[in-house]
Amino acid sequence: MNTVTETDFATAVERSGRSYAFRFVQPHNLAFWLYIVLLPIGIIYMLNLLNGSIRAFPTAFVLNAVLWILYSIPWVLFLRHEEMYDPEPAKLALVGFVWGGFIATWVMAIEANNAIISLVGKLGSPELARDWGPSIAAPFVEETAKAMGVVMLVLLGRRHVRNVFDGAVLGAFVGLGFQVLEDFLYSINAATAAGPGNEMQAVLGQFFGRGFMGGLWSHALYSGIVGAGIAYFVTRTDRSPGQRTGSLMLFAGSAWLLHFVWDSPFVNGTSIAALGMIARFVIYPLIFILAIRWASHQRREELGVLLTGEVALGTLTEEDVELLVMSRHERRKGLRHIKHEDGGAARLDERHRLRAARDLATALAKSHGADSDDVEQARAAIGTIA
């Protein structure tokens, strides 16, 4: 096990962001006031747009709401997953979700998208607008609108955006909010178009079509990439401004390109359907999984730094910490080895120790390494496990 300097420890604490609570109400922060002004505008716009449909098809509206809430649950579980060790504050993620769902969608994207597609038709041709309009307008408008949400999260919760992983996760929540509310609109529109008696079928069709066949959580993927770029720009002050700006452009450009290809006739059109399916179900999820694995690797290294001192204190063994910083796959193999050597009860105990060790890491980050009550309680919890 490598030794950890005080600087390494302080850096890991700082990067964890757990030593600061997040408060939404910040009267001295202009970003807070901007958010407060824009949110009602978005909600009123949405209600005006959907009011007739909701009144005409209340049951379809409820079904629609339930389905898209269910669609969001895997992301919430992801946020709270123990593998994350240091989950983002739920309030901050919620602020991002609401920006994506109510401000990026209704205040910014819907009018701008229509305007750009219409301009493409006027200045180019109607065919160009029909075939390429969405892929020209949506990546620029929607990725920018969601990116502004990540910027707002940085302004509102700067201390919680400590690394690329934070930016990716928070960006994904902005994107998730955008996708859920956008798809909600499409579904309720489809119910209206289908008419009485057919509205439930239309809602279900839109849910499976847009939520699954159209690609899983596509907006979360794009915004996760943009969020990572913004976080890199904000946090990597050890790099030159040129490097940071270049990286931001690279991340944002990648998200824009993915979104462009997704909306273009190449993937979304009528000619190369097979390629579209491969992109939706293989290439894009693969990109997302690789990005998460890379970011998660960085997080585990910080976990190791925070807990190394506990080995010297005897709270944890070197094997405990080594298991914690392993990938999930390697850790499972390690736990299987423990079961093989010492039996199933030993493996279960080790799993409990690892979970308690993550709590200890969070407590250490919160206390900046001091022996706070939470730290002592977490150590005691580990001590009770054989």
């Binding site: 408060r23 910040q26 001295h28 922060n29 202009l30 970003a31 006031w33 901007l34 205040v107 910014m108 994207a109 009018e111 701008a112 229509n114 305007a115 750009i116 597609i117 219409s118 301009l119 038709g121 006027k122 200045l123 041709s125 109607p126 065919e127 029909r130 309009g133 969405p134 408008v141 920018t144 609108a145 502004m148 910027v151 707002m152 940085v154 302004l155 509102l156 700067r158 201390r159 609109l185 499409y186 529109n189 489809a190 209206t192 178009a193 289908a194 008419g195 057919n198 079928q201 239309a202 069709g205 079509g209 847009r210 006739p265 979304n268 059109g269 009528t270 000619s271 359907a273 579209g276």
Partner: protein, 199 residues
């Protein structure tokens, strides 16, 4: 965020948050107000003026919504004795009205029109069953909605006195729903037995 007094400006706001928040506000205004205003200000020659009526051919005409664009590539005007098609567009939606001679009944023509759309749209499936509809003139027809890969559309047909009219609106996903009210309004303006109007 705790803010030291020295970090506040005259309004008591944290100086560090001001310019980034102003940048966000500028982008919001650009997207929410400036781009739509620019779009409204740009008006090409093909923009349809209020009160325009298009003669499709075979005595069929309709009144488009002002502000849409005449799609010349999708238009082959007919006349009193010839079939034709008029296409108009808005934000990616192509709305077309075609007239042709037809001796069968409404159900039969709906089958033909649906087959034509199936040939043109990959993986077309109906998202609502056929329903009855009517123009303001009182001519009854049939209507249905469909989806394809990346495409959403609505199809209506009318048959009267040996003339069949196909009204199709298609565009990227979500676009047709967004213009549903205008599409319905234009469909209702279809007139049989009128001609000699604007081309």
């Amino acid at each position: 965020m705790r803010v030291a007094a020295a970090d506040r400006n005259v309004f008591g706001l944290d100086r560090r948050s001001v310019w980034p928040a102003v940048l966000v506000a500028v982008v919001v205004v650009l997207f929410g107000a400036v781009l739509p205003a620019v779009n409204h200000a740009v008006s090409p020659e093909e923009t349809i003026e209020p009160g325009t009526v298009f003669d499709v051919g075979l005595g069929v005409s309709f009144t488009p919504v002002a502000g849409w664009l005449l799609n010349t590539d999708a238009t082959t005007p007919g006349d009193v004795g010839l079939p034709g098609i008029i296409g108009i567009s808005e934000t990616g939606v192509l709305f077309s009205v075609a007239a042709e001679p037809f001796d069968g009944d409404l159900d039969e023509f709906m089958g033909i029109a649906t087959d034509r759309r199936s040939d043109a749209v990959d993986k077309l499936h109906l998202t609502s069953p056929q329903q009855s509809t009517a123009t303001s003139q009182g001519v009854t027809g049939l209507t249905e909605t469909y989806n394809g890969i990346g495409v959403q559309g609505s199809l209506s047909v009318f048959v009267l006195d040996g003339v069949a009219v196909t009204v199709d609106a298609d565009g990227p996903e979500g676009s047709v729903s967004r213009h549903a009210v205008e599409i319905d309004a234009m469909t209702q303006t279809i007139l049989f037995g009128e001609s000699g109007l604007d081309q």
